[in-house]
């Protein structure tokens, strides 16, 4: 698939950007909009890309002309959450994003596999911020995630989705039990400090009602002090404005002072908060009245501990819970080992007798060799793809490894589906890497992937033979 032309418009204004087979988005300075242009390009493709600082993507409309791998020239017209696809000026489909993102991307990338489509962006796009540290799982940009197991699973045509589901369930359970476990530890700590609760000291129905009232009182008091703070904050704000002694002039030439009476909406907000404050005071009064009989009885029979604060009440409630650290620990350990087993099983399934993984290994090794990083200890072959261990790599080495992985992803998708995704790299150079090394990477890219469209944003112009240079001077759009 190739991206041909992007038009970004607002009423009365529009700007067009043309993209050729090898496009360099170039500016001498940083922060003039290269990254924004690339992100807008992806936004126009239907991805949920978060807006850049100062530019709200949703307030523009986008027209993106693309050429699919089967040579269909499509125009994608995106306006907010609506994306309409035209072919020969005829509307062929309409998608509501993000619900129909998957269907849209299946159509434009011409790949039918859900898992591959869901993980496709990370294979062809390297983001300036997160891209160079993203190896095989994590967030690409915004909330768009990438996961190597999913991608390989999709590429392998395997029906092992059940394993994936099971892993998700187990992770959830473990999270839950971890919380219970922490509570159990806390409980045991309380009991250690206060001694065991003997039967007759256990809270009665009456003390439970008392506790509920105290908790309610605490919550209301907290809320009241929060509201008071907001009221004071708003007063400070309006004092500040009033002391600036600003005046505005209306169309008749009248001078109007800027203060609490003239700022739109301020008195409403103030009235609202004062009423809220008065309601809270009233509710607190009510609870205090209900508490009076308990206060009188307080000394008669002492409970587990003196009930004084919410913290104490909480402790007392926790102490009553029927949970044991040791038994929760057992369950948790069981779940963890089951998760580990399931993960290993999935990885094993993906690794063994899998042409996809071995093909990807080969490609990664080829490029790491060429980029002269294979002498650094890489994980053993069957763990290479799925490693979670990023610690040994840093700086320039990680940068090149990421690059090699991406080339392997793009390569395998081409081999498997015959589809050529564009390759979009936002700033190939980082601080740790030398110009020479970047040149080397770019020449590899140009040599082996010249059948793909390549779009690079940079403040350097590299010696690869780009046929189009989009120079951004000071501002990307100017409207």
């Amino acid at each position: 698939m190739k991206l041909l032309e992007l038009t970004i418009s607002k009423p009365f204004d529009k700007k067009k950007f043309k993209f050729t087979d090898i496009t360099l988005i170039f500016s001498k300075k940083n922060s003039v909009g290269k990254t924004t242009l690339i992100r807008m390009l992806l936004y126009a493709l239907g991805y949920p890309i978060p807006s850049s600082k100062g530019i709200t993507f949703g307030s523009y409309s986008y027209e993106l002309k693309i050429l699919t791998d089967s040579n269909r020239e499509l125009v994608l017209h995106r306006e907010g959450t609506e994306l309409t696809v035209y072919e020969f000026s005829q509307r062929v489909n309409r998608f509501t994003l993000p619900i129909e993102e998957l269907a849209l991307h299946k159509m434009i990338f011409e790949i039918e596999n859900d898992l591959v489509i869901n993980n496709l962006l990370a294979t062809f796009y390297i983001d300036q911020e997160k891209g160079w540290t993203l190896l095989n799982r994590g967030k690409i940009i915004g909330n768009i995630r990438f996961n190597i197991e999913d991608l390989v699973l999709g590429l392998s045509d395997r029906s092992d989705y059940g394993l994936k589901e099971k892993i998700r369930e187990l992770e959830k359970e473990i999270k839950r039990y971890s919380m219970i476990y922490n509570t159990a530890i806390y409980k045991e700590q309380i009991l250690k400090e206060h001694g065991p609760i003997s039967k007759e000291l256990e809270p009665t129905v009456e003390t439970a009602a008392h506790m509920t009232l105290l908790l309610e009182l605490q919550a209301l008091t907290n809320e009241l002090s929060r509201v008071n703070k907001v009221i004071n904050g708003n007063i400070r704000f309006i004092d500040f404005i009033r002391n600036l002694k600003l005046y505005v002039i209306d169309f008749q030439g009248n001078e109007i002072p800027v203060n609490e009476n003239t700022i739109k909406g301020f008195s409403d907000d103030e009235d609202y908060l004062l009423e809220r404050q008065s309601q809270l005071k009233w509710e607190i009064q009510g609870i205090k009245k209900q508490l009076e009989p308990y206060e009188e009885k307080k000394d008669s029979k002492d409970k587990l501990f003196d009930i004084q604060s919410t913290g104490d009440i909480f402790d007392s409630a926790i102490a009553k819970l029927d949970i044991k650290q040791s038994s929760i620990d057992k369950v948790l350990k069981g779940l963890q080992s089951e998760l580990k087993r399931t993960r290993e099983h999935l990885r094993e399934v993906l690794k063994t007798n899998n042409d996809i993984t071995s093909e990807m290994h080969k490609t990664i090794l080829k490029y790491t060799n060429e980029l002269e990083i294979s002498e650094h200890i890489l994980p053993p072959e069957n763990d290479l793809l799925f490693t979670r261990d990023l610690v040994p790599y840093s700086g320039a080495i990680l940068h090149k490894i990421v690059f090699a992985y991406n080339l392997a992803y793009i390569d395998i998708i081409k081999k498997k589906f015959g589809k050529r995704t564009p390759i979009i790299i936002d700033s190939p150079k980082s601080r740790e890497i030398s110009d020479e090394e970047v040149e080397k990477m770019m020449s590899v890219l140009y040599r082996d992937f010249s059948d793909h469209q390549i779009i690079i944003a940079s403040i350097h112009s590299y010696s690869i033979g780009y046929d189009n240079q989009l120079i951004i001077e000071n501002q990307l759009l100017g409207f």
């Binding site: 709200t56 907010g80 907290n222 904050g233 309006i238 909406g265 009233w282």
Partner: protein, 331 residues
């Protein structure tokens, strides 16, 4: 013994008068500016925006089927209304009572059951005659029958029963205002409480503003926060609700921030009557722009998104509720 009975009866009479004032106010909410309730003289005065006045006399009977005093009450009330009618600004005079038999006329008693607000000309002719006789006998020359109304507000029993008719009228009033379901009881309690402090003096002055803001606060008090929580693990849902409730409220109430959201919305959305879809679209397209104002340490990005969207929605909803309620009651 007799004394305590009197005290509780007089407390009830005051409660009736106060609740009658509320019902009269709700019925004239668009025009009312202030209400004065005076226990001694059983007076209720509604001061309207156009400087005119609605006068009312409230008479309470303790036992529903004890009609011995109802005619005396009527005569007293009409005399009281006559005396006050000298002022030229009076546009309406209302006699409000809780007996189902205000004219002590067993033939027309069925006509007055339940809540009623009746103009003089709507009354059964025998009752019209009865009133005309009273007026001529007592020489109530200031009383204009075209402006006289008789209202019945049932107010009997104890506890919830006492207020059931008041509550019903309040519900009718709230029906016209969006999202007020479920606030009636609490609203009534708040109103009663607001003025009970003064009840010992048996004299209160109520501003419309003071009646209206509790409605707004109650409506906004329970924002629907489930819109963005669908499909999320229930454990996470409650965690979000509990952990971030205070933060969300503060952000909603902080003027600088709320104002930024509302002004941005007004710049972008031009529709006069906000539709749910306008809110949805605005939030979807703009929530990331407001993130710089959020400082929550160590929060998952997906949770941050939910919280940000909820805050923006609450701000917009609150502003919309304020505008719409104020407009409906002409505040």
């Amino acid at each position: 013994m007799a004394k305590t009975r009197n005290a509780s009866a007089s407390k009830k009479a005051w409660d009736f008068q106060f609740n009658a004032a509320i019902i009269l106010t709700l019925s004239h909410i668009k025009d009312v500016d202030q209400i004065k309730v005076e226990g001694e003289s059983e007076d209720i005065e509604l001061y309207l925006n156009d400087n005119s006045v609605i006068l009312s006399q409230a008479k309470f009977v303790e036992i529903i089927d004890d009609y011995r005093n109802v005619l005396r009450n009527l005569i007293d009330a009409l005399s009281g209304l006559n005396k006050e009618s000298i002022s030229t600004n009076v546009t309406k005079t209302i006699y409000i009572t809780n007996t189902p038999n205000p004219l002590n006329n067993m033939r027309t008693i069925g006509f007055y059951s339940g809540f009623k607000n009746l103009e003089f000309k709507e009354l059964p002719s025998s009752d019209q005659k009865k009133i005309e006789n009273i007026i001529s006998k007592s020489k109530l020359s200031e009383l204009n029958l075209d402006r006289l109304e008789i209202w019945i507000l049932p107010f009997h029993g104890t506890g919830d029963n006492l207020f059931s008719s008041v509550r019903e009228q309040l519900y009718y009033f709230l029906e016209d205002i969006e999202d007020t379901r479920g606030i009636g009881n609490k609203l009534l309690k708040i109103w009663q409480n607001k003025y009970s402090e003064n009840a010992s003096h048996r004299k209160v002055k109520i501003k419309k503003k003071e009646l209206v803001w509790p409605i707004i606060v109650l409506v906004c008090g329970n924002p629907s926060i489930d819109v963005y929580l669908d499909g999320i693990d229930p454990a996470v849902q409650s965690q979000l609700k509990v952990s971030y409730a205070a933060f969300m409220n503060t952000m909603t109430e902080k003027f600088e921030f709320a104002n930024k959201v509302i002004s941005t919305y007004n710049e972008q959305v031009k529709s006069v009557i906000p539709l749910q879809k306008d809110f949805d679209d605005f939030i979807e397209n703009n929530w990331t722009d407001f993130l710089e104002d959020f400082k929550i340490p160590e929060i998952e990005e997906s949770h941050l998104e939910i919280i940000a969207k909820l805050i923006i929605r609450n701000i917009l909803t609150k502003r919309f509720v304020i505008q719409s309620v104020k407009k409906k009651v002409n505040l």
